[in-house]
Amino acid sequence: MASQVLPQALHMIPRNQVQPFNPVKNRGFSAFLSRGPSPLTTSKVSVSGFHSKFPVGSSFSCFARRGFVVRAESNPEGEGEGEGEAEGNENGVEEPEMKAKAEAEVEGEGEGEDEAEEEKPKEPRKPRIKLGDIMGILNKRAIEASDKERPTPDLRTGDIVEIKLEVPENRRRLSVYKGIVISKQNAGIHTTIRIRRIIAGIGVEIVFPVYSPNIKEIKVVKHRKVRRARLYYLRDKLPRLSTFK
């Protein structure tokens, strides 16, 4: 760890390789490890006593910045700012490495950072996509794609709807299903509604996936005021309540 690497050697790692998604961490670490306390920074050991109070999440940004910084033609410029950065950088650094070394390193970084900032304006950071958001984003995209072909109206429990469905078996004509929505299950692209109707004396419930390409049209004909999200009580009630002409 205490290898005396010349500052010029730090040019090896260009800035644009350091992106939030890549396994930058390793590179950052190796960059760190390969760097020794540069002769210029040893003089400023005033950055002591910083403790990692910042959330670990900022460690990535630390590494990103370190990418800038690795160009260590470190001149002593704007040290106040450098120290400010140093705090953030130090946090990510502290976990794996010793504090003393971190402080020394961080100063060098802070100075290099200023230089990088002077060179180009800081770009707004792109919002990071977390692992837990991926399904939500994919579902939203799929829903938008299906909405483009056929707009889906806003459906709620208690709506009396009419659905025109294309059935592969009945190739000639579209089947029409009318009924009251007794439940809606939200599941992204597989959002389904359950339609109930009395057909020829027998109650029939059909579950339709709302964004299915087989559904050619959904139209809300009427609305009945209900005070429930799921109208399963209609199964026990008189057939008259589930009859729709």
């Binding site: 059935v167 592969p168 078996e169 009945n170 597989h190 389904t192 057909i199 020829a200 004396g201 027998i202 109650g203 029939v204 419930e205 059909i206 579950v207 339709f208 996936p209 299915s212 087989n214 199964r235």
Partner: protein
């Protein structure tokens, strides 16, 4: 096994009890054929009480999934009596029947039906 189903054609029987599901290890579903014993029958009908007959399940209270992701479910369990070849014994079918019968090649029942759900 032992499920009592309603008979929805005019073959004379009123209620039958399933004694065997011909296909399926876990029992017959919508569209399957079963062997049943007539438990209740009209006095003058083509089938009498106690006769062992074949039937096609046309309505089931258990939901049946379709290939496009939809599911269909009826409020009762009903059967149409057929002969060994699959032709219905009666001449009329009451109530709605599902699409699934077309795939099972019960076209005659579909044509006799009041409504295809």
């Amino acid at each position: 096994m032992r499920t009592v189903l309603k008979v929805v054609d005019n073959s004379g029987a009123k209620k039958v009890m399933c004694i065997q599901a011909l296909k399926g290890k876990k029992g017959a579903r919508l569209g399957d054929t079963i062997i049943a014993s007539v438990k209740e029958a009209m006095p003058n009908g083509k089938v009498k009480k106690g006769k062992v007959v074949y039937g096609v399940v046309v309505r089931a209270a258990m939901q049946r999934g379709r290939c496009d992701g939809s599911e269909v479910k009826f409020d009762d369990n009903a059967v149409v009596l057929v002969d060994k070849q699959g032709q219905p014994i009666g001449t009329r079918v009451f109530g709605p029947v599902p699409h699934e019968l077309r795939q099972k090649k019960h076209v005659k029942i579909l044509t006799l039906a009041e409504h295809i759900a």
